[in-house]
Amino acid sequence: MADARVQVPAQIKRGAPFEVKIAIRHAMETGYRVDDVGKPIKRNVIREFVCKYNGAEALRVDMSSGFAANPLLQFWLTAGDSGELVFEWLDDSGARGTERAAINVTA
């Protein structure tokens, strides 16, 4: 069960850059580790992360074993109109996660 936390400013000025933060609770198992009896632990990382704004792709991240567990992504966007940010991700086990954030643009 994926949990995530998102942070965006409450009010955004049209065209002005704003910071988006998302933290996802995920073990990001590297695939390089072994368990207590030496059996390799299967890789399970979030391999695809997409952030869409009003349906248009705003950011895509291809993640791999090099990412720490519980990744925290911080990036900047600009917006022309109010709308909704949708974050979607997919891990190696096939589990998907979704999170949303409302963007409130003032003049």
Binding site: D3, R5, K21, A23, I24, R25, A27, N70, L72
Partner: protein
């Protein structure tokens, strides 16, 4: 580490330790580290770890706290679909300061409870649900959420009355040398705190930030998991999470950390 020097430090402290051992049933306990000199483990980490813990968004432990908040109002079990909130309402009010008093003796159960045991007793007795497994994500999340409500409040546990035998066993555990390394908890955390052990600075070993997000673990873990890391380090028997000796030790540690403020969710290396 310089063995000769640390041994002499320990010798200096031995009279105090003996006094503590002899005091036995006396109401006042001898404190090896005076209350005014107590320092949270946060003081012995680096600037980067302090910044990570201090930032409410970047602190990864907050992911568990938020999950705990969801679980708080999620019905469970066959007891009429009750959630924690059905009885305890808003945790922000009802759970404030609760974890500063734990571990505590539970009269009904007739044994010592830490927060994890308390949660599971509520689940099995009231909600008629299955007990959460030790170190499971849900138990860590609920514990983190409950302890987070006491953030900034000082620890103060009761060690008298029915809690007394638990406290004394915990204190004896703390000062007993164990494992292939023949070390007690006090060897590091009372005689040598502030000094280096390989790349790390030894802390005073206080329980005020648990459950913690430990960077080495890359996840959240309980106080008992951390104790097991220490037991592993001195090559002693690895006692199970939630076992009576670790519970006793938890009570002694809470008494020893009296007045330190709860930090949950803590971040440590």
């Amino acid at each position: 580490m310089k063995p000769a020097r640390s041994a002499s430090r320990l010798c200096q402290r031995l009279p105090a330790l003996l006094l503590a051992a002899l005091a036995g049933t006396a109401p006042a306990q001898q404190r090896v580290i005076p209350l005014t000199e107590l320092k949270s483990g946060l003081a012995y980490t680096g600037e980067d770890v302090r910044a990570l813990q201090g930032d409410d968004f970047a602190n990864p432990g907050m992911l568990w706290v938020e999950r705990g908040e969801k679980l708080w109002s999620t019905p469970a079990g066959a007891g009429g679909g009750q959630s924690c909130a059905s009885c305890h309402q808003d945790a922000k009010a009802s759970m404030k300061g609760v974890s500063t008093r734990y571990p505590a003796f539970d009269t009904a159960a007739g044994r010592l409870f830490n927060i994890e045991a308390r949660i599971n007793a509520c689940r099995t007795d009231r909600q008629k649900a299955e007990a959460l497994k030790p170190e499971s994500e849900d138990l860590l999340a609920l514990t983190a959420y409950i302890n987070h409500q006491s953030q900034g409040l000082p620890i103060k546990v009761a060690i008298d009355g029915p809690a007394r035998p638990y406290f004394e066993r915990g204190r004896d555990f703390y000062y007993t040398k164990r494992g292939q390394m023949n070390m007690s908890c006090a060897t590091c955390h009372e005689a040598n705190f502030g000094k280096r052990l390989f790349a790390e600075t030894i802390s005073q070993g206080h329980p005020n930030a648990y459950p913690i997000y430990r960077l080495e673990w890359q996840t959240m873990g309980s106080l008992h998991r951390r104790m097991r890391s220490c037991l592993f380090g001195v090559r002693a028997e690895l006692l199970p999470v939630g076992s009576p000796p670790l519970l006793d030790l938890e009570l002694f540690l809470a008494w020893r950390a009296e007045g330190l403020k709860v930090e949950t969710p803590g971040v440590r290396r």
